[in-house]
């Protein structure tokens, strides 16, 4: 990674000479022209199905074939490679598979091209919240191809035993359910709830969900930071109190997705907030999971009603420096189509952005979590859409971590006031 950063230093140094020019690529009104071979830059395909998807395109477009440029698995490394490529104004990457939180940065730097909405005929069929992630200043810069939302995994067996028929819809209901279950002999040594609270992107996700679920925002609709509010405080306090009362185990401050998944699979947690990928692993019957067949999923709980999930997923965008942009646009439409998205979820269980797929009877049978996932994504909110996302997410993590870490003396009031100040300096648009 450090090597990459030093190359980045080099790359900008080399490009220093022509800094005076206003930059040829990236003008937002540029027509999407040119046909021929293109490339898709995407993170390491752990599902193994991406090439099949590309083969389907290549079979019908022999003169406009797409080649996969596989980037590292780590999202930061992917972003760095894409940025280096853009700064070198290279046409090596035509279509970029962007993490949903990169859109503003890439668009503001004009590394990706604006896509006229009428050129994406299926846009109305995609879940609106996912389309929002691809927009910067109300203009479209990408098309969502996959999505992701948080789910509440819960131990159905124990809830049933304690006489609770339904998954909790609010935090209070969840804590009440925990108290009932705690009386059971099976619940010995179990904790109530966990999400991901290590200092990394997952903490931003969990913090944003707590704040949004309590009716607060981090950044409001106009793009202004507004996190020093009673609602945001209520959300953060829910987490603080969870740690204080032991409802959230102490160790959760070190949990990323995988640590929290293992804790749930080992039967240490009654409730877990995690992504859909956990379902298949927790359901594994090879002995790796102690909770196979004993759990179910529901949408996230909130303060007074259903909770608000943060959005994950990827948007496909066209590099400003690409050749054959017309082909790239066609390819993106092809990948976002119902047929391709269906083929993809069947093989990979990656959440689609196409709304109607969540109601497909065959799919809901194959993936029982699709119904709660649809509810989660329909109500989801993107993480702050800001140009300096890296700095903003670091500031959010610092604020949340400082209040949650063991022995912390920082009150939610102070943390949120400081965060507001910090965000105001970072978000100037």
């Amino acid at each position: 990674m450090a090597v990459a950063s030093s190359f980045a230093l080099l790359a900008t140094a080399c490009g220093g000479g022509d800094d005076g020019s206003s930059g040829s690529g990236g003008s937002s009104a540029a027509a999407l022209e040119g046909r021929g071979p293109i490339t898709l830059a995407s993170g390491k395909d752990t599902s193994g199905n991406l090439q099949n998807q590309l083969n389907a395109w290549n079979a019908s477009h022999p003169n406009e074939k797409v080649e996969l440029k596989e980037l590292p698995e780590d999202a930061n490394a992917q972003r760095q490679q894409m940025i280096q490529n853009a700064q070198a104004q290279s046409d090596a990457f035509s279509v970029l598979s962007m993490d949903v939180v990169w859109t503003s940065e890439f668009a503001a730097n004009q590394w990706v091209t604006q896509i006229p909405e009428d050129k994406v005929p299926d846009l109305g069929k995609l879940i609106p919240a996912t389309v929002e992630t691809a927009k910067y200043r109300d203009k479209l810069y990408g098309v969502p191809v996959t999505s992701d939302g948080g789910l509440l995994y819960y131990r159905k067996d124990l809830l049933t035993k304690a006489g609770i028929a339904e998954a909790p819809k609010t935090w209070d209901e969840m804590l009440a359910a925990c108290q009932k279950v705690a009386a059971l002999p099976e619940a010995k040594g179990m904790s109530c709830y966990s999400g991901q609270f290590e200092k990394y992107e997952g903490l931003t996700v969990n913090f944003a969900e707590a704040v949004n679920s309590a009716g607060g925002v981090i950044v409001d609709k106009d793009g202004k930071p507004n996190v020093n509010t009673p609602e945001a405080k209520a959300g953060l306090e829910e987490l603080v109190n969870g740690f204080k009362t032991g409802a959230i185990p102490k160790a959760a401050i070190t949990y990323k997705e995988e640590e929290s998944r293992r804790a749930f699979q080992e039967g240490k947690l009654l409730f877990l907030r995690n992504w859909p990928y956990v379902y298949a692993k927790a359901e594994a019957t090879d002995g790796s999971s102690k909770v196979a067949g004993k759990f179910a999923v529901a949408p996230l709980p909130g303060k007074t009603g259903p909770g608000v999930s943060s959005l994950g997923g990827h948007d496909y965008a066209i590099s400003s420096f690409a050749k054959n942009k017309a082909t790239a646009l066609d390819f993106i439409n092809f990948m976002a189509s119902e047929e391709r998205q269906k083929a993809n979820i069947e093989k990979t269980s990656q959440a689609p952005s196409w709304a109607s797929l969540y109601d497909d009877p065959a799919l809901t049978k194959q993936f029982p979590y699709l119904a709660p996932l649809k509810a989660s994504i329909l109500g989801a909110q993107p993480r702050p859409r800001v140009v300096k996302y890296g700095d903003v997410t670091a500031a959010i993590q610092a604020a949340a971590y400082d209040t949650l870490k063991p022995g912390s003396t920082v009150t939610p009031d102070k943390a949120l006031a400081d965060l507001q100040t910090k965000l105001e300096t970072l978000i100037t648009n």
Binding site: S5, S6, A108
Partner: protein, 351 residues
């Protein structure tokens, strides 16, 4: 290094011929060396200069009315450097500076003690010596990132460290425990390096010296302090110098083992990385340059004060008046140059 070019001496009558000869060989040497110098210029000189240049510029920090980043970079003089010491970033910098220095001092001391002990064990003739040597070297053979991951597993909340200690220490949280975990993992990995170099030094000590000491009735401690340590000192100093330079640039271990943005373990390399990954290459280059200067100063002082013979010059030359001092200086310069390269071009170690 120019010191190695022989200075023409002798009477005036032969000096012309001599000079022509010298010019000829000098030219030939220059021609033969030019590919090397060219490569060095491209991979060493150019990155350093361009990083220095980069550190005087800023770019991509302003938005125009359409929400697009204003292109082009502006010359800001020393602002990037001054910003490092101002306000919140100043606190962060000094914290990272302290952490870097703390890790360097603590880790290198521990590694030196353990490394020398390991070398002494490896040097002894006993049954299964080969096995012991190999097993001591295993940690050194493992890439740092992998060993960081291994230790991350060990230091997990429900990991083996907590099981053995019978406690619930949350190692990756802020505080002394995260520092300790980095020190343990770094010592585990790199003590064998010092061990290996010291072992090489030990093997050059003739057995007669020890026999003589035995005959004179010296005990083991005296033998160690009066014979082993002085004779192994050149090798040991080089090993320690390398470790100091390496640890001053420590990046991957805290980054992977504990994580980013943790005050307890954030080091100077991590600051440079953080700036670069947020596409602020000017400030990143400024951080890298500061680290480069810090490393260079430390290396220079180390060589000056302890007289570490980094490039093996002192032994090759005859001991003579002022000569020795000059060699010391050349060695120091060479060492700082080598260090500077890695610090400036790396802004951290590979991960």
């Amino acid at each position: 290094m120019t010191a190695s070019t022989p200075v023409p001496e002798g009477p005036a009558s032969t000096s012309k011929r001599q000079q022509r000869f010298n010019e000829g060989t000098g030219r030939l040497a220059a021609i033969l060396l030019s590919p090397t110098l060219l490569v060095l210029a491209v991979v060493v000189l150019f990155p350093i200069i361009s990083a220095l240049k980069e550190s005087l510029f800023q770019s991509g920090q302003r938005l125009d009315e359409n929400g697009f980043i204003v292109k082009g970079s502006t010359f800001v003089g020393l602002d990037n450097y001054l910003d490092i010491f101002r306000g919140e970033t100043g606190d962060r910098f000094w914290n990272a500076f302290y952490n870097t220095t703390f890790f360097t001092v603590v880790c290198v001391v521990l590694e030196t003690v353990l490394g020398v002990a390991m070398a002494l064990i490896m040097h002894k003739a006993f049954k299964g010596r080969g096995l012991v040597r190999a097993s001591i070297l295993v940690p050194w053979a493992i890439p740092t990132v992998i060993s960081a991951l291994l230790w991350k597993w060990i230091f997990q909340a429900d990991g083996i460290a907590n099981t053995l200690l019978g406690s619930q220490v949350l190692w990756s949280t802020e505080g002394w425990q995260s520092k300790l975990s980095v020190v343990i993992a770094d010592t585990w990995k790199t003590a064998p390096f010092i061990g290996l170099l010291v072992l090489a030094g030990l093997q050059t000590i003739p057995a007669e010296v020890y026999e003589a000491a035995k005959v004179d009735g010296a005990n083991a401690w005296r033998t160690f302090t009066r014979i082993t340590l002085p004779l192994v000192k050149p090798a040991l100093l080089v090993a320690v110098l390398f470790r100091i330079l390496d640890t001053l640039r420590i990046f991957d271990l805290p980054f992977v083992l504990v994580g980013q943005h943790k005050n307890s373990v954030e080091t100077l390399s991590m600051l440079a990385y953080d700036e670069a990954s947020n596409v602020r290459f000017g400030p990143a280059a400024a951080y890298a340059t500061l680290l480069f200067l810090y490393v260079a100063v430390v290396a220079y002082l180390f060589v000056k004060i302890l007289g570490a013979d980094v490039i093996g010059e002192a032994r090759a030359k005859k001991p003579g008046g002022g000569r020795r001092k000059k060699n010391g200086g050349a060695g120091a310069a060479a060492a700082t140059a080598a260090v500077g390269v890695s610090a400036a071009s790396g802004s951290g170690r590979s991960i």
